[in-house]
């Protein structure tokens, strides 16, 4: 579903060349649920942007659902759903339902398919109470659920999430995690989850990738991850060791 082969991305920041992503290669098959970890500035957001087509890679190859995001942006957009944790994909001034209607028109979703999908998402994400509230008046948890629904209205094959649980309370986090698990299990949607919250990784991801200084530092199952530092008992300590390890 997702293929990166030697992908690289450099930026020119005031005459110096910064390698945000360097020689990144990994493959994610359909139906997988992958966690994407990394310290701040490691290149996570840059990877996400390259997958969506917002940013073009400076080297290497990127394919999502068999399509090149930088060349087939609009075609790919129909098959991919994106959630940015730190900003919303919804329209700020409009009621939530109007945002959904706009998305229906933008993605050309068939009316009956849209309505049944909307009902389903309203139920599972519990959106009913605030469907008519303007997005700017929603709490963070409500807005995040709205963003999730918005990303899934067109039944994408791939769901990419950039720190979706950031700033949420325990209850909201739990409900979103449960929703994502069910989505992956029942619909077979491929999920790529970027997060700082190791609880997300523990509960959701069978496979974990760790990026640091633009390079892939680890790629394996959760058990493999714990095995890299058998003397450490918590996942926090294991990951910290990996972060500081790659820094050396």
């Amino acid at each position: 579903m997702i293929e990166l082969d030697g992908a690289g991305r450099t930026f020119k920041v005031k005459r110096t060349v910064v390698h945000a992503v360097r020689d990144l290669s990994f493959t994610v098959s359909a139906g997988e649920f992958v966690g994407y970890l990394g310290p701040n500035g490691a290149g996570k957001s840059t990877t996400i942007k390259m997958l969506c087509g917002i940013l073009t890679p400076t080297s290497g190859r990127v394919r999502v659902a068999g399509l090149d995001p930088s060349r087939r942006r609009t075609t790919l957009a129909r098959r991919i759903g994106v959630v940015f944790g730190q900003r919303t994909t919804l329209w700020w001034d409009l009621p939530l339902l109007d945002s959904f209607q706009l998305i229906r028109h933008l993605y050309k979703v068939d009316r009956s398919a849209f309505e049944s999908r909307l009902d389903e998402l309203t139920q599972t994400l519990d959106l009913g109470a605030f469907l008519r509230t303007p997005v700017r008046q929603l709490s963070l948890g409500q807005r995040m659920r709205g963003d999730l629904a918005a990303a899934l209205l067109h039944a994408p094959d791939v769901l990419v999430l950039d720190e979706p649980t950031i700033g949420l309370d325990v209850v909201s986090k739990a409900s979103i995690r449960e929703f994502l698990l069910r989505l992956n299990a029942e619909q077979g949607t491929t999920v790529l989850l970027t997060t700082h919250d190791l609880g997300d990784i523990e509960r959701l991801c069978r496979r974990v990738m760790l990026i640091d200084h633009g390079r892939l530092a680890f790629d394996g199952t959760l058990d493999d991850l714990m095995a890299t530092a058998p003397e450490q008992s918590s996942i926090e300590d294991v990951v910290t060791r990996l972060y500081t390890g790659t820094a050396q």
């Binding site: 930026f11 020119k12 840059t46 942007k49 969506c52 087509g53 917002i54 940013l55 073009t56 930088s70 942006r73 609009t74 075609t75 957009a77 129909r78 991919i80 994106v82 940015f84 900003r87 919303t88 994909t89 001034d93 409009l94 009621p95 109007d98 209607q101 706009l102 028109h105 933008l106 993605y107 050309k108």
Partner: protein
């Protein structure tokens, strides 16, 4: 693409229809603001019967013929000049995730149906002038043609402005001096301007084809600058000539954003 645009526009209009009083107020306010320019023309003609060889009703005709395409574009296309705001807020990324061209999304973004007040004002002025002038009926076919070419020219101008905002992200106001300046320029007969300026807006940035050149034909007048007759009919060609670089510049702007991530 057109269908998507109108569906987006309709959703925004429905949202503002929830507040009808506010909508009506904004229509009226738009009308009033636009009417100030007409008030200036009327004050000028309270002091003279001709301005650079044109009568009051002729000037009102030229004003209406410029204001109508401008206000139409102001309603349907002008939101594109908020590109720098979107870049700074990070919302351009949200636009690029969607399976619709960024241009369609940005021009429809926060569509303001109440700008119809301004379109109405321009229609009224144009209608009055056409009625008051007693034009040669055989020439009036040019009027809808000039409004249409005007819409294309102003749209191209706005798109160029939007494209420039990808590089001039911190100075969007500079660009508005070209779009709104374009309206200011075309409101009055070009005979008031210097020869160099008129050449510039005829052969470089073809604003002369919004209302001046075709307008001379409708009014049955010769060009005080002595341009040949066939120029009056080049409006559509000029619109096309401007649209091409505008479209290319826009595509280049998007490409620039996607390759620098600024």
């Amino acid at each position: 693409m057109v269908r998507t645009y109108f569906l987006l526009v309709w959703t925004w209009t429905r949202a503002s229809a929830a507040y009808p009083a506010s909508f009506a107020l904004m229509c009226v306010l738009g009308f009033v603001t636009a009417a100030l320019d007409v008030a200036v023309i009327l004050v000028i003609f309270a002091n003279t019967t001709t301005l650079a060889g044109f009568s009051r009703d002729e000037v009102l005709f030229l004003y209406g013929a410029a204001a109508l395409p401008f206000t139409i574009c102001d309603t349907f296309v002008s939101n594109i000049d908020r590109v720098s705001q979107h870049i700074k807020a990070g919302t351009l990324d949200t636009v690029l995730i969607r399976p619709v061209s960024a241009w369609v999304q940005l021009t429809a973004d926060r569509f303001n149906a109440n700008r119809i007040g301004r379109i109405l004002q321009a229609c009224l002025v144009l209608g009055y002038a056409v009625a008051a002038l007693g034009l040669d009926w055989e020439r009036t076919w040019m009027i809808p043609v000039m409004v249409l070419t005007g819409v294309v020219i102003f749209s191209a101008l706005w798109t160029l402005g939007g494209a420039l905002q990808f590089v001039l992200t911190d100075a969007p106001e500079v660009i508005s001096s070209f779009t709104y300046g374009g309206l200011q320029l075309t409101q009055y007969p070009f005979s008031i301007y210097g020869r160099d300026l008129v050449s510039g807006v005829t052969y470089v940035l073809p604003l002369a084809f919004v209302n001046w050149q075709p307008g001379l034909y409708v009014l049955g007048r010769d060009d005080p600058f002595g341009t040949p007759e066939f120029l009056r009919f080049l409006g559509p060609a000029a619109a096309l000539v401007l649209s091409l670089p505008a479209a290319l510049a826009w595509r280049q702007g998007i490409r620039h954003y996607r390759s620098t991530g600024s």
